[in-house]
């Protein structure tokens, strides 16, 4: 039977190598996913039961108490009275801050980077190539080198512990975004823009009415990559902001953990916060899975 399939598909017969490869693949998929299940299991467990049943595969003393506490349905005072731990966490606030932080930065980055990219792709102005090379070389500079000067600048501006201080380094542009979009803009046929220009359209109108609508694909790729990176950003928001009302998710979780008084950490509380911050990622993967995977793949093919 299999011979009829044709030569383009290698004959798939059982052999030990393939079986081993399948086995290893399944083990690695399990290792990737299982810790996330453990977080959920712990979050659904009763904190008093956990010490006796830590290794159980199902939640022990199933309860939604931890989630209610992390979401603020049960107040911090109430939790303290219940003996659930002295540290408080407000996931909804952190979630809102994270969403706002990501939305603002992604919007700004894409708007300004695409405008810069278009200028580099189509407009002629003195110093264009020099400026573009400067931007390309800025791609080589690792984040840590920029944190200190950025921190000093934000501090001098009096923006420590403010939202604008948190978004400042991200909202304007990134060299990668400019480079990425310029390459795409260069591939758009010139004729389209020429026709519009003959009709008297200005470069700004051409950019917004013709070029941007044609660039939905690359822009959404860029948007997904940037959102994932910013959603996970920890160092900078941690550095410039100690106002608890402005904390983004990763920072809020870290603070929650380090607030723990001595004694065993409040694992059920920590894991409920952890799992809640995974939920948006799940949703992203569920609804935009293919695009996410393809965007990440793209980041590798330059």
């Amino acid at each position: 039977m299999q011979k009829d399939i044709g030569y383009s598909r290698p004959v798939q017969r059982f052999n030990i190598g393939r079986a081993l490869a399948w086995g290893l693949l399944i083990v690695l998929i399990f290792i990737s996913v299982f810790p996330i299940y453990v977080a959920l299991k712990t979050a659904l467990s009763d904190r008093r039961e956990i010490f006796a049943h830590a290794a159980d595969l199902l939640p022990t003393g199933f309860t939604l108490y931890n989630f209610e506490r992390a979401l603020g349905i049960i107040s911090a005072d109430q939790a303290r009275a219940d003996g659930a731990g002295a540290a408080s966490i407000n996931m909804l606030l952190a979630l809102r801050n994270s969403a706002l932080f990501v939305a603002l930065c992604v919007f700004g980055q894409i708007l300004f980077s695409s405008m810069a990219a278009y200028a580099f792709a189509r407009l002629r102005f003195p110093g264009r190539n020099f400026l573009f090379i400067m931007i390309l070389s800025a791609m080589m500079i690792p984040g840590i080198v920029l944190f200190i000067p950025n921190f000093i600048l934000v501090k001098e501006l009096g923006w420590l512990n403010t939202f604008q201080g948190m978004v400042a380094p991200y909202i304007l542009m990134t060299p990668f975004a400019v480079f990425f979009l310029r390459q795409f803009f260069l591939s758009i046929p010139l004729e389209l823009e020429e026709a519009a220009r003959l009709d008297g359209a200005s470069p700004i109108l051409i950019f917004f009415k013709i070029v941007l609508p044609l660039s939905k694909g690359p822009i959404s790729t860029l948007g997904i990559l940037t959102s994932i990176n910013l959603w996970n950003e920890f160092f900078w928001p941690y550095l410039v902001n100690s106002d608890e009302n402005l904390r983004v998710l990763p920072v809020a979780l870290q603070v929650f953990r380090s607030q723990q008084p001595s004694g065993p950490p409040d694992w059920t509380g920590i894991m409920s916060g952890t799992f809640l911050s995974i939920v948006p990622v799940f949703l992203l993967l569920l609804f935009l899975g293919r695009q996410v995977v393809e965007s990440l793949q793209f980041s590798g093919s330059k």
Partner: protein, 242 residues
Amino acid sequence: MGLANYQTMINDPAFWNALKTTVLYVLYNIPFQTVLGLFLAVAMDRLSKSMFVRGALILPYLLSNVIAAMIWVWMLDPLLGMVNAFLAIFGIPHISFLGTTENALGSVALINIWRHMGLTALLFYAGLQGIPKNVYEAATIDGSSEWTTFWKITLPLLRPVTVFVMVTSIVGSFQIFDTVAVATQGGPVDATRVLVFYIYDNAFRFFKMGYATALSMTLFAILIFFSIVQLRLFRADQSDLS
């Protein structure tokens, strides 16, 4: 003057310790991450192109470093952690993964291998899609085994992608900070005080901005050096296809 900070650095044993720790961390991290990523990429390519497999493998990368560290600190807990419970089945006594100087750095590397394995795989996988199918057909007709095909065809043709993945992951690995900040805070006894953590200490805890800048410029120089050496070593610009 400006160079005084570099003078201090050369005579600072804590700097040398941080550098050694970072290099050790990179050595723990990169080989495992790259080999596992490469295996997964080939497995996805040859065994299952399902989106579910790719989605499951990429899930850890979509979590922030902080969350990954948080989950693993719990998994690796010396008394209550899942990993020790699992090892106990085989009669292995409880291990303090993050609490001893011998284990801490390796455990931090483990957390990051877990988070980056899927991304590395995805990048290699994208590279595999660029290898023309007829090369494989020719190999199959010649009776080449899967194993030989991998070593003689896939790996050499994948070289530009391998260079890209290695350069970006080494550059990223040298900058490890978040996981350390959550899991160990540089301890126990400096065992995980990597370079970026030491820079952070100097800049934002001791407020020695000048010294911290000197350290970060040194890190920058190391990264540039690595990128150039790797690109040279692997002849990144030439593929064996051309």
